[in-house]
Amino acid sequence: MAEFSHTELLVGAVARMLEGLRHVAVGASSPIQGAAALLARALSGGRMRVSVLGSRTNNFFTDGGRELFDCAAQGRIDAFFLGGGQIDGQGNINLVGIGPYPKLDVRWPGSFGSAYLYFLVPRVILFREEHSVRTLVPKVDFISAPGTSAANIYRPGGPYALLTGKALFLFDRALRRFRLESVHPFSSVEDVAANTGFEYDRAPDIGPTPGPPAEWLALLRGRVRDEIAETYPQFAATALSAP
């Protein structure tokens, strides 16, 4: 088996969830997600479109800031990535802060487009590298975007998975709960349980999160590294090189 870094494992895990999609969009401050989308595009043989916010060469929008959102509302975006300072077991995400709103104890930048894209993009992958009881909480302090909605709310989109630095969960929209699917190397089922603040289900066959195959690693350390360097030069230089 090929040797790979922790970052390469995460990139590979995200890329695996993008296989077969037509259009993947990547938001701000998302180097791992951006690299994963560009890897998935490289593996798709040119069938996948990728829009990376902040990129000049990997961003084809020409109608201003609204186009991404209009595009999503029409069903033209298959996957997007969101995060959050807090994520809870119902898939609610909080990008606003900790404490009672509006006089919060800790203030974060704000909700960006989450309160909209979470409803409209079919496959929203939540990514939060810090896996702790501080980030994965029983209930978020502020709902930037809810994980699920009542049956009469127009909602073709929602959470698909939650990837952290320790594990991969899939979200079951009918049960409104996460299910632990796999655990990354150097973590364990017990470690995940001790560091997750919300209740979740367990897949019958929780295994190790598979690493990227050699062919993926070669792309990641070559073509994809060059492509992502335009938007995230630091990340490309430090995180995507052979160990």
Binding site: R56, F69, S114, A145
Partner: protein, 273 residues
């Protein structure tokens, strides 16, 4: 009628206290030279509308005490981390914050662009953003069956302020693909623009330039400001000055540090590095 050309100081003198001022995100064209001039003129009580996010521009205006209301989907210094003055002062209640989401700001400006009272928008229902926005409503889709949808009142800024690569002598302004600037200019009562350079030919006479050009009909006044987005970048012209932005973030961690930054880089006019 052509839009008048003014000096930077005369341009910002056109921005009264207490107005709703719309500004673009860091990836678009931020009028930073004008923002520093605006702070030097001592502007107060702005309702600052970030379309839809802001960075160091909102930071400087908030820190300088020029903002009474901020409406934004986010304020961030990007890869440099949290926006220090925003983060510190929002907790003190120094200004009122209307937390929003990017498409809501775009859509509400589109309502103003069309002269409509409101715009419907998907999403939002069940979020605390909506719960804390008494100015927004949920209504039934009149064409649907049990289909609630959010209604956003039109956002009509008093003034839109941004920086663009080119203006011609008639005051037509070229923005290229940065079309959120077009929406802002359509929606605002008045638009003030700084530009990198003056273009001698008529921008509307060239078919390749015309579709990326805001006609002077929408432009109140223009000022020439080379490197006017610094320390933010301008697409196709120059990169953001990462070193300076990092220097800002370090300085603005404390109120004293911010005051020193303001004294050194804003209150004293100096040429962009």
């Amino acid at each position: 009628m052509d839009a008048p050309f003014l000096s930077l100081e005369d341009l910002v003198a056109e921005i009264p206290d207490g107005i709703m001022l719309a500004v673009p995100p860091d990836y678009s064209g931020v009028a930073m030279a004008a923002t520093r001039a605006l702070i030097r003129r001592g502007v107060k009580n702005l309702h600052l509308l970030a379309v839809p996010t802001s960075g160091i521009q909102a930071e400087l205006l908030i820190g300088a005490g020029a903002v009474s209301t901020l409406e934004a989907a986010a304020v961030t210094m990007g890869e440099l981390g949290p926006a220090p003055r925003f983060t510190a002062l929002v907790k003190s209640g120094a200004f009122a914050l209307k937390d929003s989401t990017c498409p809501a700001i775009h859509a509400a400006l589109q309502a103003a662009e069309k002269g409509l009272p409101f715009m419907p928008l998907r999403g939002l229902i069940g979020s605390d953003i909506l719960a804390f926005r008494p100015d927004w409503r949920v209504a039934e889709n009149p064409f649907g069956d049990n289909d609630p949808v959010v209604l956003l009142p039109a956002l009509r800024p008093d003034i839109a302020l941004f920086h663009a690569p080119l203006a011609d002598r008639a005051g037509n302004v070229w923005i290229g693909r940065r079309r959120e600037l077009m929406v802002m200019a359509h929606a605002a009562r008045r638009t003030l623009v700084t530009v990198e350079e003056i273009h001698d030919d008529d921008l509307l006479a060239d078919e390749r330039m015309a579709s990326g050009t805001i006609p002077s009909l929408y432009i109140g006044a223009v000022a020439e400001a080379p490197r006017g987005a610094w320390p933010i970048g301008l697409e196709g012209r120059y990169e953001a000055d990462g070193e300076h932005l990092a220097l800002y973030v370090r300085a603005a961690r404390t109120e004293d540090g911010f005051r020193r930054y303001l004294a050194e880089h804003v209150l004293v006019e100096r040429r962009a590095a």
